[in-house]
């Protein structure tokens, strides 16, 4: 039992550290493609961390979703950046000191809350992966159905709106074929 708990702690720490390290690399590299890949690795490490915390369904979902999302982001990076390879070492930051301060203060505040708040008794055992998926399915199609449906409609609306914003406006002359 003790060995199993230590293993879980090790993997949470290891993947957590990897996620934070790759998160930092996102803003340290000049190459935008590397930035997108670093974010992909950060999110994948997070998925592995979820698996270590016995949230199997969410872990696999996170890895699958983020792999696709970040690949699309890498394509957009190549499309939109003036120097996607980072060979010119362009400076693309502003208000650096303020941002560092804000990030550091929010990190310290969250750590103080995490360490000093009494979170109550910790539960050592979690339901197995199959039971978790069944419970989540029943939750989504039962008590939380309205929230789930709202999320679905919102994402559909966002996709349609994003496509509508992104498509090239048709000029009147083109519309009539002249």
């Amino acid at each position: 039992m003790w060995e199993q708990l230590s293993g879980q702690m090790f993997f949470i720490g290891f993947f957590g550290l990897a996620a934070v390290w790759f998160g930092i690399v996102v803003f340290r590299t000049y190459s935008m493609v590397r930035s997108a890949l670093a974010l992909l690795f950060s999110q994948t490490a997070l998925g592995a961390m979820f698996l270590s915390m016995q949230a199997e369904f969410l872990g696999v979902l996170q890895i699958m979703m983020m792999a696709t999302e970040m690949s699309i982001m890498a394509i957009f990076m190549v499309m939109f950046m003036m120097d996607p390879g980072g060979l010119g070492k362009m400076e693309m930051t502003h208000q650096k000191r303020l941002s560092l301060g804000a990030g550091f203060v929010s990190f310290i505040t969250a750590v103080v809350v995490a360490v000093f708040v009494d979170w109550g008794p910790v539960v050592s055992l979690a339901p197995d992966a199959g039971q978790q998926t069944v419970d989540l399915g029943l939750e989504l199609l039962g008590r939380s159905m309205l929230i789930f449906e709202t999320a679905g409609i919102t994402i559909l609306t966002a996709m349609i709106a994003a496509t509508a914003v992104a498509i090239k406006p048709i000029s009147r002359s083109n519309k009539h074929g002249s």
Binding site: L5, M9, I12, G16, L17, V20, G23, I24, V26, F27, M32, S35, A36, L39, S42, L46, M49, M53, A55, L58, L61, Q62, I72, M73, F76, F80, M81, M92, T93, H94, Q95, K96, S99, A102, G103, F104, S106, F107, V111, A114, V115, V122, V123, A126, D135, L136, E139, L140, S144, I147, F148, A151, T154, I155, A158, A161, A162, V165, A166, K168
Partner: protein
């Protein structure tokens, strides 16, 4: 066991801090979106840790993680839509050039 919860919460805090730095310091719209993704990832770690170590018998915790994932996807879709529109209009997605949006 409490140590695992603290470890996960500290990871969430670190991701949140890095995300705040990225969202505030970057001048490119796509890089700002990357910062926001990291902020949401920090929130997601906290939710999974709270579900696992405090209420593993209540699937509502996992449901909230799914909502955060939806928010991430929506942010990407809308952000890229805006980026394409901006690039088409001005030829760049540098936010320092978007001075006409200033109130």
């Amino acid at each position: 066991m409490g140590l695992e919860l603290i470890l996960a919460l500290i990871t969430g805090a670190a991701l949140f801090g890095v995300g705040i730095y990225g969202a505030l310091s970057q001048t490119n719209l796509v890089m700002i979106m990357m910062g926001v993704e990291l902020i949401l990832a920090g929130a997601m770690v906290n939710l999974v840790a709270f579900w696992r170590y405090l209420h593993p018998d209540n699937p509502a915790g996992q449901m909230f993680v799914l909502i955060i994932m939806t928010v991430m996807a929506i942010e990407m879709a809308v952000g890229f839509g805006v980026a394409i529109a901006r690039f088409r209009a001005k030829g760049s997605v540098e936010m320092e050039e978007a001075v006409e949006l200033k109130g």
